[in-house]
Symmetry: C6
Subunit: 204 residues, 6 copies
Amino acid sequence: VFESAERTAVPGVATGLAVTGAGGDVLFIEATAMDGESGLTLTGQLGDVMKESAQIAWSYLRSHGRQLGIDPSGLVGKRIHLHVPAGAVPKDGPSAGITMVTALASLASGRPVRPEFGMTGEVTLAGRVLPIGGVKQKLLAAHRAGLTEVIIPARNEPDLDDLPDEVRKALTIHVTGEVSEVLRLALRPAESETGAQPLVGAAA
Amino acid sequence: VFESAERTAVPGVATGLAVTGAGGDVLFIEATAMDGESGLTLTGQLGDVMKESAQIAWSYLRSHGRQLGIDPSGLVGKRIHLHVPAGAVPKDGPSAGITMVTALASLASGRPVRPEFGMTGEVTLAGRVLPIGGVKQKLLAAHRAGLTEVIIPARNEPDLDDLPDEVRKALTIHVTGEVSEVLRLALRPAESETGAQPLVGAAA
Amino acid sequence: VFESAERTAVPGVATGLAVTGAGGDVLFIEATAMDGESGLTLTGQLGDVMKESAQIAWSYLRSHGRQLGIDPSGLVGKRIHLHVPAGAVPKDGPSAGITMVTALASLASGRPVRPEFGMTGEVTLAGRVLPIGGVKQKLLAAHRAGLTEVIIPARNEPDLDDLPDEVRKALTIHVTGEVSEVLRLALRPAESETGAQPLVGAAA
Amino acid sequence: VFESAERTAVPGVATGLAVTGAGGDVLFIEATAMDGESGLTLTGQLGDVMKESAQIAWSYLRSHGRQLGIDPSGLVGKRIHLHVPAGAVPKDGPSAGITMVTALASLASGRPVRPEFGMTGEVTLAGRVLPIGGVKQKLLAAHRAGLTEVIIPARNEPDLDDLPDEVRKALTIHVTGEVSEVLRLALRPAESETGAQPLVGAAA
Amino acid sequence: VFESAERTAVPGVATGLAVTGAGGDVLFIEATAMDGESGLTLTGQLGDVMKESAQIAWSYLRSHGRQLGIDPSGLVGKRIHLHVPAGAVPKDGPSAGITMVTALASLASGRPVRPEFGMTGEVTLAGRVLPIGGVKQKLLAAHRAGLTEVIIPARNEPDLDDLPDEVRKALTIHVTGEVSEVLRLALRPAESETGAQPLVGAAA
Amino acid sequence: VFESAERTAVPGVATGLAVTGAGGDVLFIEATAMDGESGLTLTGQLGDVMKESAQIAWSYLRSHGRQLGIDPSGLVGKRIHLHVPAGAVPKDGPSAGITMVTALASLASGRPVRPEFGMTGEVTLAGRVLPIGGVKQKLLAAHRAGLTEVIIPARNEPDLDDLPDEVRKALTIHVTGEVSEVLRLALRPAESETGAQPLVGAAA
Ligand SMILES: [Ca+2]
Ligand SMILES: [Ca+2]
Ligand SMILES: [Ca+2]
Ligand SMILES: [Ca+2]
Ligand SMILES: [Ca+2]
Ligand SMILES: [Ca+2]
Ligand SMILES: [Ca+2]
Ligand SMILES: [Ca+2]
Ligand SMILES: [Ca+2]
Ligand SMILES: [Ca+2]
Ligand SMILES: [Ca+2]
Ligand SMILES: [Ca+2]
């Protein structure tokens, strides 16, 4: 996870899995906050559906974050900017939803995302994780990129049958129907909880 | 009502009935509120007519809610976000109107929607329920999804003749011309009214 | 006037006459007011011309209402929502102008619109009533719907020659060039003026 | 000037001259002001050029009115609505510019426009009157409508050669290059200046 | 310079040079300021590039004016309206940039533009004057219009070879790469600097 | 570096490298700040991707500037205007990202950009420098324009093989994956750091 480790070293960056014309790929969701007019700035040539995903992710955290131990109040009244490189590549679809929630929750809590994790899944406003397409290509891409833990929607579990055995063995695959579970898995613990600087894990 | 029970367990989610290219289907309207610029955020690839339905639903509650025992004042001055999964599926038409009123009334009152209820009907700004299309496919879909109570517009009563007998028997079908009646049927009573935690009903 | 009586029972609803692909029809203009950002929300798939009619109607009342005994000040600083069901049917044209003024004047004054009245006519910002098309189809539709009083623009009086005798006899037809006259005819008197609850009239 | 006298009886209405597909025609510019968000509301299916004319007219009065004895301060901070009936007829072009200045100056000063006057001419932000097209058809229309005084741009004087003698004799034609001159000609004097209610003139 | 003298007699108007379908022409940039929401109103059917030129001109003056002795603070917080007659003629391109800076600087300083001057040149945000096209046609038009002094970008100096000798002799041609130089040339001195009313010069 | 030296003499201007239809070219990013509504004004006929680059650059500086010794607080609450001459030439693509960060950092810090530097590279919201296209044409253009130092993305290092030897020798080529490194290289030191006016270097 050389690239992922570098990219997710700071809070606010999460690793997603996407399908492109040329198979699967990893993408990074970068979030930052600054003083300015309250609201979301979205860049990365995002299509309508993906922009709506970002709105859903941000609304979910604002209305449910506190129940999950993610206090979003430090971000309220700020300008949130969410970018998905590469800047010239058009992107669309709902499957980055849980990655967007994770990036924003990381930013809000100051807890970095575990670099060995990649994830894909649509999120609803009530925090459900809905199924998405391209599971096989996405997990192959995760493996190629050196990731060792992936999160997919519970309803996509049947798609795992198509995965080559060696990839399946190399990856720890988490299936879940709730975005609260995604955050428990992918965010490093707060430093005060562990009393120690959390390690990046064996995959690093 | 396995999925519906899970999805409607929290206030702000109501179960609608829709017609898609592949017959009828159930859909969930999710509503949440947060601090922010007053107004509606609408996601789920909603078309013009469906976006107007959401505006009508919200205006109806703000101007008539108090007469119905639904105090909307806790939502005034907040950002209301209304989402209709699945995020990538375009949706349009006026028939989700009463479901939107119900989701917002549930959110405003803190009273969850009864999970055994599905509904369809256009709403007007004065609270009338106008007829919609696809009643047969919608009720078949409600039955398939395990719902046991449905609400349809009064003027759609003649469409019930086309419904197979076994479905007609399995469903309790409420016909009404007033959205105030929809709320009386579909919202669980406030806990203080019953002195007891309301049960989900025999269908659960 | 069964439907019209039900629909216009509350202040803020007026009955208009329209021409559709299938002949004439009655339509209802519903207006309501609520706290929120000052301005007009317009729904019902209204075209450009019809949206402008609503702006004209609202500006007319704000600048001339007081001269007519209609005090609009209770609506100033509020969000006015004006809806024209059915929500999925596109509508356009200027002929709903006087109906929109009437609905807003009813809302502002709390005086319901007389349910036996239907009306059609373009309104100008200075309060003139300009001629419209489709008078014959509109009056036939008014008659079919059980209305007994109609208001049309003065300059449309020649079109009455085309009307079948039995319809002409059944309807009381008011012709006028001034929207102030429309309001005098169509709004019920304020209760304080009559000392008695106004009756809906013989047609009810 | 039966129609013009009726229409211009109140301050804020001025009579313009236009060219339509069917020759020349008179049109009325109606202006009104109300409490609300500062700015211009423009209706009457106006095209881009005509909307810009309205902005120019309003900016001209705000920046130069006081020099001309027209104090615009009563309109500043108000919502100005400018409508050009008929509502469904698309209109465009710059030639209503001086008519718009006149309507707004009439509204600001409370001085009605003389009903026997019609006018046409583009206005610039510095108050120049620029030439327009269709002078012959416009003056024929003014004559047909019973107007007896018309204002045209100085640079259109050569177009008067094409006018039939009887029309030229019946009309008093004012040519000018300055919009300040238009206002001196077309607005009735303030009552306080004359000590007497100004008469409408021989044409009435 | 009969027309130019009349048009530029007041502060806020500058004479530009343009290329049209029918050769070169002079155009006037008119600027005015009024109370209202801070920002630019642009009229005259300006294209995207020309609207951006106006923004650049206004930003340049706000950030660099004071170094040039042009204090823009009287215009800050005001509505600036910039119009380019004739109102119905579409215009585009960057070559009016220095004329726009000059009109705005004239407005801000109260110093009228010298009426014998015409100018053309793109301006950058840092105050550079970039080359433009159509120099020959523009200078012929300046000469025809009676102007005697013109300003062109330094990098357009080679284009002067194409100019007829008699025009080249009749015009004083200033070439410059800095918009600060344009303002020094084209604005009349402040009255306080000269102790005397500045004359318009021999060309008047 | 004659032109570059002139153009970058003031803080807020940085030299980029672009590919056009006619090979590579240098372009200047000009940034300025003024009182006004907080936000970005972007001119120069920038396409969607390039406008997003500007937003990313500005958000990056606001959220990470202070760590880099670039205090953006003097620009917060101001209107930032970013222009890319020439005004009429459409431009797009992400490769001006690091040049935009540099221009804004120069403006915020008051430290001019070294005139002998040209640069190209996409920037991400977290400050990574991503690879771009056209390295060979861009470096040839830098050389032709007299620049002697260039910055390119680390991942573009392999493209340097295509560069003619004499150009490669004439240029000092910096490769980096971090925009913080770009700023360390390209901005002149603050005067207080050196105790002396920094020189422009041997290339001037
Ligand atoms: Ca789309
Ligand atoms: Ca996707
Ligand atoms: Ca539509
Ligand atoms: Ca539907
Ligand atoms: Ca239209
Ligand atoms: Ca109509
Ligand atoms: Ca146009
Ligand atoms: Ca015209
Ligand atoms: Ca363009
Ligand atoms: Ca030009
Ligand atoms: Ca694009
Ligand atoms: Ca590029």
